[in-house]
């Protein structure tokens, strides 16, 4: 937010610093979810063994958020509330179908990423509401997950990023696929049609190509200084293949860089 103030893009009359509100910085596993307090710093997630074990997708994605000097101060709640369509954490949360816990003086409300992210930098957050915690569903040890991104330089906002989680049946076909893309639409988007296309099928080059083609049909990127709409569309297809391959190899027990 301070860059917006420094560039005079936003001139609020009042700012409330919640940085010192106690008890909102925590990471713990609770049943099916990894629960992370809004004031938890990116750096704490990056270093957390619990996150690595329960939600490796998040550990992989967090390294793409800015640089160390940014992650030392940036918070999970801030990244979600900011609503940037190319931010990594909203993309991961969307892929996993996680939950956002909002609080106001009357109590709490749980919303899905779909309900929360409205368009570029706009969320359903009301002026009297606070993001209290984020719940990232725990990824089963047998699943394979991958987060891939292309940015102009490491630390810049991503041009396109894809988060994928796959499960394989005993026969080796996809028994569950979760896929989301960021940077191309006005909000991070779950690729439900692509998930359905993959479901029940055996992973192979031909199938990945089909998933890639469908993704390119589904996304609605815009051109900007950093890349044209056509480039982003092509890249979306390529990145979906990369994410799926990486996640599939991991689900098969292989290691990839």
């Amino acid at each position: 937010m301070i860059p917006l103030l420094n560039m005079r893009l936003s001139t609020p009359k009042y700012i409330i610093d919640i940085g010192r509100v106690g008890g909102l910085s925590y990471i713990h596993a609770d049943g099916e979810s990894l629960v992370i307090g809004a004031l938890t710093k990116h750096r704490d997630i990056e270093k957390s063994k619990l996150v690595k074990e329960k939600c490796p997708l998040l550990s992989e994605a967090i390294r793409w958020v800015g640089h160390e000097q940014i992650r030392n101060r940036g918070t999970v709640g801030g990244s979600i509330a900011h609503g940037d369509p190319s931010a990594e954490l909203p993309c991961v949360l969307t892929a996993l179908r996680g939950e956002i816990v909002l609080a106001d003086e009357n109590g709490e409300e749980i919303v899905s990423p779909e309900e929360f992210f409205l368009t570029y930098m706009l969320t359903s957050l009301q002026p009297d509401q606070l993001v209290k915690e984020i719940r990232f569903p725990i990824i089963k040890p047998a699943s394979g997950s991958a987060f891939v991104e292309v940015a102009r330089r490491h630390g810049d906002f991503g041009l396109v990023e894809v988060a994928a989680v796959v499960d394989l049946s005993e026969e080796g076909s996809f028994s569950e696929v979760k896929l989301a893309i960021g940077g191309v639409n006005s909000i991070p988007t779950a690729l439900e049609d692509v998930e359905r296309l993959l479901f029940g099928k055996e992973p192979n080059e031909e199938l990945f190509k089909k998933a890639s083609d469908l993704t390119m049909e589904l996304v609605e990127p815009e051109s900007d200084l950093h890349g044209t709409a056509e480039y982003r569309r092509e890249l979306s297809g390529t990145m979906v293949i990369r994410a799926l391959k990486k996640a599939t190899i991991r689900a098969q027990g292989g290691r990839v860089m």
């Binding site: 301070i2 860059p3 420094n6 560039m7 700012i15 610093d17 940085g19 750096r43 800015g66 640089h67 160390e68 000097q69 940014i70 030392n72 101060r73 330089r153 490491h154 630390g155």
Partner: protein, 158 residues
């Protein structure tokens, strides 16, 4: 606007000042404390010139308000110099390797690298490149900065 009282430690010294709530930490350091070693390039977190340490971690001083540093321990590039006035090993390594030309970016690099070297005593080149990826230099082309960081790491391990 009413001032806000803040108490903090800067380069080991206790400081107590009244500041406007809207004042950036970078401006506070330069204009109120007259510690002009901390440079301001972009003012939106990208260039790294304003990097300082807050409670031991490297952060952008242009992205913090002075009031947010209340109760914190702040270190700026002025803290690096040795007591007798000599450059410390990292500054010396930058000088020896021509790791600066105009010097505008240097304070930010020094602060980023000094905390990195505390945690990584024997870094490889890839780690060094990653460490400095959040700092921009328009003059040197980075190669000499990488050499300087290697030399500084060696000095420490010897």
């Amino acid at each position: 606007m009413d001032g806000v009282k803040i108490n903090l430690k800067v380069n080991g010294q206790d400081i107590s000042r009244e500041v406007d709530a809207r004042l950036l930490l970078s401006d506070f350091i330069r204009e109120n404390l007259l510690l002009t070693g901390t440079h301001i390039g972009c003012e939106h977190g990208v260039c790294g010139a304003c990097t300082i340490h807050v409670n031991g971690d490297p952060v952008r001083s242009c992205l913090m308000l002075a009031v947010q540093a209340d109760g914190c321990e702040v270190k700026t590039v002025e803290s690096l110099i040795q007591e007798n006035g000599d450059l410390n090993h990292l500054q010396q390594a930058f000088s020896d390797n021509h790791a600066l030309q105009c010097g505008f970016c240097t304070p930010g690099f020094l602060m980023t690298v000094s905390s990195f070297l505390e945690e990584n005593s024997n870094p490889c080149e890839a780690e060094i490149r990653k460490c400095i990826s959040g700092n921009l230099c328009r003059c040197t082309g980075y190669s000499n900065i990488i050499k300087a960081v290697k030399q500084a790491a060696q000095t420490v391990s010897n």
